[in-house]
């Protein structure tokens, strides 16, 4: 909804608005540890550990090597993740099971970081529908993932759209507040969508837990240039950036006619 107003705003200012690259004198925050840990029911558990850099640096983020990374489930199965490439830790024997709670422990630079996440039950992604809608001054093609939300509030979803092998950076994340227990065909709308005839669009649907939903809503707010941006609240304790998510994952693809 907010994006409609943003678009309106753009229409109003189109005649006069002008953009330019400027220099802003920014502070350099000390480098912080960034942990991104994922357990899914369809692929290998992965934990990436990097560090933040200053704004003016290039977009290469130093890997944190030599960390001790373990993931334990609520049945006390313990998995040690080993470093395959610098900063990238994984264990191919850990595939998540919906309903289980996973605990992450990372020790890096003498500091211990911990987090837990519960993998929700999988909701089946039935199909991908297509539609065209007018948006601003053009028609855009939209993909609508269709699924049936289970009865009872508290289901959270995240969708990752890949157009011809390029991941759409836009974050699609929502809950079941408006259609609890119903069939959802909520579209993946991106105002500057480039989807055209002949493209292959892949959609990954994830069922995520509430902390991760909040994390990604905050991240989406940052993408939309929030009024007062703030770092998304991490579910990892110990003082780092990033998140640890145990989620289901299911993929489907569609060819744009």
């Amino acid at each position: 909804m907010k994006k409609y107003f943003n678009i309106t705003f753009l229409i109003i200012i189109t005649f006069t608005a002008c953009k330019k690259i400027i220099n802003v004198d920014l502070n350099n925050a000390p480098s912080q540890v960034v942990i991104e840990g994922i357990v899914t029911n369809s692929s290998t558990a992965q934990v990436n550990i990097t560090k933040s850099v200053t704004f003016s640096s290039s977009n290469t983020f130093p890997a944190v090597t030599g960390a001790t990374v373990t993931i334990t489930d609520n049945l006390n199965n313990k998995f040690i993740l080993t470093e395959k490439t610098p900063g990238n830790y994984s264990n191919s024997s850990l595939t998540g099971v919906p309903g289980r709670t996973y605990s992450l422990s990372v020790t890096a630079g003498g500091i211990n970081y911990t987090a837990t996440s519960t993998m929700p039950q999988q909701v089946n992604l039935d199909t991908l529908l297509l539609d065209q809608i007018p948006f601003g001054n053009k028609y855009i093609t939209i993909v609508q993932p269709q699924y049936t939300d289970p009865k009872g509030f508290g289901n959270y979803y995240s969708f990752i759209e890949t157009i011809n092998n390029t991941v759409n950076p836009k974050i699609f994340v929502w809950d079941d507040r408006f259609n609890d227990g119903g069939i959802s065909t909520r579209p993946l709308i991106q105002s500057d969508s480039t989807i055209k005839t002949g493209d292959t669009v892949k959609v990954e649907m994830r069922c995520i837990d509430k902390n991760i939903y909040t994390y990604f809503t905050s991240l989406a707010d940052l993408q939309q240039n929030a009024t007062t941006p703030a770092n998304p609240t991490s579910n990892i304790s110990g003082g780092c950036l990033g998140y640890f998510s145990a989620h289901t994952s299911q993929r489907k693809k569609v060819l744009i006619p």
Binding site: M1, I22, N27, F55, P134, N137, F178, T185, N225
Partner: protein
């Protein structure tokens, strides 16, 4: 209950105290009362704030909001002189040997070139008045000031006064002495207007053709006003010409206007209808693009008012406002939003010393969003509705004592969001619980002339907010998780807040032309705006205080020095203030404010403080007039959960703020004007680093509002040409040419940080600026 009784008891003792202070003059001398009203001779409009002076004495009275005045003086012969800015001074000889009723009609001065005859005493009236932090907007000046796209706008013009800051480039939203945009009580004929802007903030909802008087209180609010922390903007609509029919209007780049007024019964009743519609959508229709053609974007508003005299002592007023913005993209998305207000008032002159006004006020703000996507077809609606009953009395006891007292009760209904879906939709119809509350207040205010030098106004307002059922109310833990749900039945009290709001101001006259003034006031706000957007969006949500949301409290002290010089041609003032604010609201990260039954779980509570000093120099008369305003100020907030619990600058914290306004009457035909504004950039949060997550670059933030936008400055120019006046013909017309941002300053509207589109290994800052060199032309007519 015992607590409530104690509060009532304290009110009672206060009334005793007041009656003790009032000096009932029981001397043998016979006293009589001169009362009546002051009006415009041509239109019969009552004049607000006109001065009535008895030349033989120092006694001076001012007309109230309905043009009524009352003076009680010893028997004798007097010369009464009546002054009002923009009108020829009138004087009458009276022999006061019984109570006299005198209706005075003043003749408007048609051009500024006419010799403005204003007595020196009248010129220095601002010095003696105990009110401080009050600004009156001259509606005549408004017509000459340059504005964006030529759309004259009261809310934009008040931003040129010291202590008042604009919410953004071309925006009608404003901040008063550090308070938020939601802390301004904007009243249109006593009805609060919840969303005072059109087109996402670029234009205000007020059609200046229909407006008679705008008074802004930024501190020292009299006790009759309450409900918001920072300011009161009291806008009064014209009553309509009760002598003759008038049609006026205008064509501008954004909208066209028409205004019709005339008598219902000559001298006894009149009406006014004023309408405006924008036509930005007409440009869309011209587009070659068929999709653009199917988009809609416009606003309209309608002001209407009628009044009728039921006799010498009674007068009825019925006024209303209806405005709507409409926006749509083809048939997939449509929305409209707007305000509806209605006021029914009954003025009654109880006797020549007591004036009564009873008002029944309705106010409503609503929006509707219609979305159609595939098989989903649903609409979201939201509404806030007030019904308000208000009784006010003005009691003119004697020349040294005036009392205002009254009471009101408002019933608020807030429907935060209702979703209505077609049967075919996958979206389900649902409703976020409606919230009900009663907001009531009683007040008394005493204006006391202690001696020739000292005037004071003090008063007390006692306000209450009671949140009532039906509904489920929640209790939350520290991190915002619901830990308990309590159901309340219809009419059951969920939470009740009593507050005492003392108001005090005093002026001490140092000599004829200078004075110092002091004021203290406490204000309470029980309606809270939830918004996490930069611009005013139609989906702004107002919530009353509940078991979780406490009333916002502001205490303000201010001290000022006032001096007039050059025969009252120049007015100088300096005011300094300090404000403590409690129970301010902010949001948790990732807060979801829309259609959320648990919205209160997303809120954080903190405090704030604001202080500053305002300088103001105004040239009031002559071919050239205008003013210079400078404000040096600071506004800070503190929340335990933000910035490690340290104070951080509020967004609207602008250290320096300067405005220059000049209006020059070149000749009979041409008036030139210019305004220049400068302010320190708003406080913003910029990144202090970056990291990689979710396959993308994410910026790292350290402190809240730790950076500044670049300084903002702008020059606007306008020239107005008026058709030569012809005594035999009523027809008049004028052309106004304007240039907004005349030297094309690229003021930063937003600064965005992103990956460099030309080099993905880098990140850059990109500035967007909005309006540069925006010309305008407006044609106005009257016949």
């Amino acid at each position: 209950m015992a607590y409530q009784f104690k509060k009532f008891a304290s009110i009672r003792s206060c009334i005793f105290f007041i009656s003790f202070l009032i000096n009932f003059n029981l001397s043998a001398q016979n006293k009589f009362t001169l009362s009546g009203s002051v009006k415009d001779k041509k239109s019969g409009e009552s004049l607000i704030g006109a001065s009535i002076r008895l030349e033989e004495t120092k006694i001076n009275a001012v007309t109230n909001g309905y043009g009524f005045y009352s003076i009680t003086i010893p028997q004798g012969n007097y010369t009464v002189s009546i002054n009002y800015a923009g009108y020829r001074t009138d004087s009458k000889k009276i022999n006061l040997d019984n109570n006299i009723q005198l209706v005075i009609e003043l003749e408007p001065i048609s051009t500024l070139l006419d010799e403005v005859v204003v007595s020196t005493k009248r010129k220095n009236e601002n010095i003696a008045k105990p009110l401080m932090g009050v600004e009156k907007l001259n509606m005549k000046d408004l017509n000459n000031l340059p504005v964006l796209l030529g759309e004259k706008d009261v809310l934009k013009s008040i931003q040129l006064l010291p202590g008042i800051k604009s919410a953004g480039d071309g925006n009608s939203g404003f901040y008063v002495r550090g308070g938020g945009a939601d802390q301004n009580l904007i009243l249109l004929d006593e009805a609060p207007v919840y969303n005072a802007s059109h087109l996402l903030g670029f234009f205000s909802t007020f059609n200046s053709d229909a407006i008679k008087d705008v008074t802004l209180y930024k501190g020292g609010m009299p006790a009759q006003y309450g409900g918001r922390l920072s300011s009161v903007v009291d806008i009064k609509m014209k009553d309509g010409n009760n002598k003759d029919y008038d049609v006026s209007g205008g064509l501008g780049l954004i909208s066209s206007r028409i205004n019709i007024e005339g008598p219902i019964v000559k001298d006894n009743g009149s009406f006014i209808i004023s309408a405006r519609r924008s036509y930005a959508d007409m440009f869309l229709k011209l587009s070659h693009d068929s999709i653009m053609r199917n988009n809609t974007l416009y606003f309209y508003d309608l002001n209407a008012k009628a009044n009728y005299k039921l006799g010498k002592k009674d007068r009825l007023f019925l006024s209303g406002y209806f405005g709507r913005d409409v926006l749509g993209f083809g048939n997939s998305f449509g929305t409209d939003w707007g305000n509806l207000t209605g006021t029914l008032r009954w003025n009654h002159i109880v006797n020549n010393k007591i004036f009564s006004n009873t008002s029944l006020i309705y106010s409503d703000y609503s929006y509707k969003i219609q979305i159609k996507s595939g098989t989903d077809n649903f609409k979201i609606t939201s509404q806030i509705q007030d019904i308000n009953l208000k009784q006010d009395f003005d009691f003119y006891i004697n020349n040294n004592n005036k009392i205002k007292f009254g009471a009101n009760i408002i019933h608020h209904t807030v429907a935060p969001g209702t979703i209505t879906a077609d049967a075919s939709s996958n979206i389900q119809s649902s409703e976020v619980q409606k919230r009900y509350s009663y907001e009531s207040a009683v007040y008394v205010s005493h204006e006391l002339t202690v001696n020739n030098n000292l005037n004071i106004v003090y008063g007390l307002r006692m306000s209450n907010l009671s949140a009532v059922g039906p509904g489920n109310f929640y209790q939350y833990d520290q991190s915002g998780n619901a830990i308990d749900t309590i159901h309340y039945n219809k009419g059951q009290t969920v939470a009740s807040y009593w507050n005492l709001e003392p108001r005090f101001s005093a002026s001490y006259q140092l000599n004829e032309i200078s004075s110092i003034k002091f004021s203290y006031n406490r204000n309470i706000q029980n309606l809270h705006l939830l918004t996490n957007s930069t611009t005013s969006t139609p989906t702004d949500l107002w919530l009353p205080s509940t078991n979780n949301i406490k009333p916002e409290i502001a205490d303000q002290v201010s001290l000022g020095y006032y001096k007039n010089f050059k025969e009252g041609q120049f007015e100088f003032s300096v005011e300094t203030y300090y404000k403590w604010i409690q129970n301010q609201i902010d949001y948790r990260n990732g807060a979801d404010l829309q259609a959320n039954d648990n919205v209160e779980s997303e809120l954080l509570y903190g405090s704030g403080r604001a202080y500053g000093i305002e300088f103001y120099l105004k040239k009031k008369f002559g071919k050239f007039n205008g003013w210079v305003g400078y404000t040096l100020s600071r506004t800070e907030k503190r929340f335990a959960e933000i910035n490690n619990g340290n104070y951080f600058p509020a967004k609207q914290d602008q250290t320096h703020n300067i405005s220059l306004v000049g209006i020059y009457k070149l000749n009979e035909r041409w008036t030139l004007s210019g305004t220049w504004v400068y302010n320190t950039g708003n406080a913003v949060t910029f990144p202090s680093g970056k990291y990689h997550v979710n396959g993308q670059t994410v910026f790292l933030y350290t402190e809240r509002n730790g950076y500044r936008m670049p300084a903002y400055h702008r020059l606007d120019l306008a020239a107005t040409w008026e058709s030569p006046r012809n005594k035999n013909r009523k027809y008049q017309s004028s052309w106004t040419y304007g240039l907004y941002n005349a030297y094309g300053r690229e003021n930063a509207y937003i600064i965005q940080f992103k990956d460099d589109p030309n080099d993905p290994t880098k990140t850059v800052a990109e500035q967007t600026s909005l309006f540069r060199f925006v010309p305008s032309i407006t044609w106005n007519f009257k016949f």
